[in-house]
Amino acid sequence: MMTNIGSRLTQGQFSFLPDLTDVQITAQINYALERGWAIGIEYTDDPHPRNTYWEMYGNPMFDLKDPAGILKEINDCRKAFPRHYIRVTAFDATRGWETPRMSYIVNRPAVEPGFMLMREERDGRSIRYTVRSYATEKPESERY
């Protein structure tokens, strides 16, 4: 169990708020669509802070402009991976950005065991740190 104030992983834009409702998620989808950003859904059972490449639940939806359709995709992903972390990312293709502009978690496991900090003592009091997810002691797709 994580010991931070919300006992939860705090990646993403809104992890310090109560879980977003579908109405709230729809408003965020609209914000991205109004700016021409494409929405992608990604899931993982390895939420290490440096795990950049969560699995894609399909490609970013460049051509889907209907917020209800995008919400349905999110909910389908939640049904398929109910105990995984799921995040919604908005991709901006504008020159000078060409990078994600939004990223927020919309699904997480009921219990979040968090991470162990491993220390390797080295010369001159230096320590090499490694962060390991407790969940990843089990193989992929058998975690949580």
Binding site: T10, Q13, F14, A27, M116
Partner: protein
């Protein structure tokens, strides 16, 4: 040179020109306007560097002569005619003042003595590639102490794309910084460890750990935290990295602490930066007082070592605050984007330090836009194409707290680091709670903004609603809700009818 026309050698015009040239180079003293530094018909080239100065001439010096003097003394002129000019293509090396205008709301009938804006063009060949030191030695090297002018201020500078392309620019930039940190769509949150002086390494790291675990992304060394008797730099780095890594494991987020590598010599700075890198820090910092060349060196080092480079603008107000003399901070912003820093303190609007909202908008645009458009109300005299130099993340720090979140996001946008030092560490329920209050206020406000709510007007209500379920935020609002710093700014726009008050 576009304005020099060839004249055939046997024409009457040529005879006149010969006579004029002989007169021009006769030993003695000429007025600067007669030496070629005042050229009202000159049309700047795309490759010229163009500068706007604010001049307060001495009594009896007309504005064109003052402008020509500034052009002269910042390029080829000295106080008397020298024949050695004729060994050179001196027309090219002469800076050309081509426009003078009275500054609005100065002169007779106002509280301020008469000032003038002058526009001066410098040929590209006056400057060494990739050297802020050379650029500044030319433009501000000599002329600010010149007797014929009472006061002088460098207001803005258009840097030609050709010259910009000789600079590395920000080592990391906003886009890459966000990708490395995996943080998108909201301002980043930071705090400066307090008290500034006296904490041991062990005690210092405690503050860092609590603030990061509570929800901040960054904690920061203060500008004068280097390596003093109470805390050596190696101790600080070791304890801070323990704090950063502990907090990262406790939250699952990438966290950082700006390790200040400022030191007495470049060799010491490199040694400290190397140690920060070995320990796995994502970010280091330097102070503006290390100097332009040291900043460029550290920017190159940072690019080479995948390090974010934070710059604290220590000392800038000694020359940027007063309107009549020195240089505007927007010019520092331009030079620092060229020099290659990733973060720079650029004002808060609502906090304890100097900052008119319109002026600060101009600074932020200068740091973040791919192309800034001339906007006199924001103090931007020129269109500036940034030639794909990366974007600098502005940092807002000094006397800000969670209760101002709606104003901060309104004025500063989302690509900014909001630093709540006292507003985190001084929280009545402790440092972690202080950090949580700031993060909850931030996320609640971004959520509301994205939902299309009028968050600037509804901001206090949005915060009160979040405070119902977040007791740290409630305590923050109860403690600081009414604190504000309403003083008139000194560095304000010249092109608006009234002074804009800080909100």
């Amino acid at each position: 040179m576009s304005n020099v026309r060839p004249i055939s050698s046997d024409s009457p015009a040529a005879a006149t020109t010969k006579a004029a040239t002989a007169k021009r180079y006769k030993a003695g003293v000429l007025r600067y306007v007669e030496m070629g530094y005042w050229q009202p018909d000159y049309v700047p080239l795309q490759t010229d560097l163009v500068v706007v100065f604010r001049i307060t001439p001495q009594a009896g010096v007309d504005p064109e002569e003052a402008a020509a003097a500034v052009a002269g003394e910042s390029s080829t002129a000295t106080w008397t005619v020298v024949w050695t000019d004729r060994l050179t293509a001196c027309e090219l090396y002469r800076a050309k003042a081509f426009k003078v205008e009275p500054v609005p709301n100065t002169g007779p009938g106002t509280k301020t003595e008469q000032q003038y804006f002058t526009w001066i063009a410098y040929d590209l060949d006056l400057f060494e590639e990739g050297s802020i030191a050379n650029l500044t030695a030319s433009i501000i090297g000599n002329v600010f102490g010149f007797k014929a002018i009472k006061a002088l201020r460098l207001e803005d500078m258009r840097v030609p794309v050709a010259y910009l392309k000789t600079f590395q620019g920000p080592a990391t930039g906003i886009v890459v910084e966000r990708e490395r940190l995996d943080k998108f769509g909201r301002p980043l949150l930071g705090a400066t460890t307090k008290p500034k002086l006296g904490l041991s390494g062990r005690n210092y790291g405690r503050v860092v750990y609590e603030a990061l675990k509570g929800g901040l992304d960054f904690v920061k060394d203060d500008e004068n935290i280097n390596s003093q008797p109470f805390m050596g730099w190696r101790d600080r780095y070791l304890y801070c990295m323990e704090a950063v890594n502990r907090a990262s494991a406790a939250t699952g987020e990438v966290k950082g602490h700006y390790l200040n590598v400022t030191a007495g010599t470049m060799e010491d700075m490199y040694e400290r930066a190397e140690f920060a890198r070995e320990l796995g820090s994502v970010i280091i910092m330097i102070d503006l007082v290390v100097g332009y060349t040291a900043i460029q060196s550290m920017a190159k080092w940072a690019r080479k070592n995948d390090m974010i480079l934070h710059l604290h603008r220590a000392g800038n107000s000694t020359y940027s605050r007063q309107k009549n003399h020195g240089m505007n901070f927007r010019v520092i912003c331009k030079w620092m984007r060229m020099a290659g820093v990733d973060h720079i303190h650029a004002g808060t609007v609502v906090g304890k330090l100097e900052g008119d909202p319109l002026m600060i908008k101009g600074f932020y645009d200068t740091l973040r836009d791919s192309r800034t458009v001339a906007n006199l109300e924001h103090g931007l005299f020129f269109d500036q194409d940034w030639a794909s130099l990366r974007k600098v993340m502005p940092v807002a720090s000094g006397g800000i707290h969670a209760g101002q979140m709606h104003q901060l996001i309104h004025y500063l946008g989302e690509d900014v680091v909001l630093q709540f030092g006292g507003g985190t560490i001084g929280h009545p329920m402790g440092i972690q709670a202080g950090a949580t209050a700031n993060r909850v206020a931030l996320e609640a406000m971004i959520l509301a903004r994205n939902e299309g709510r009028d968050y600037l007007r509804e901001g206090p209500q949005i915060l009160r609603d979040a405070a119902k379920w977040c007791s740290p935020l409630r305590a923050a609002i109860d403690t600081w809700g009414e604190v504000s710093f309403n003083y008139e700014s000194t560095d304000t726009a010249d092109f608006v009818p009234t002074v804009t008050a800080s909100a």
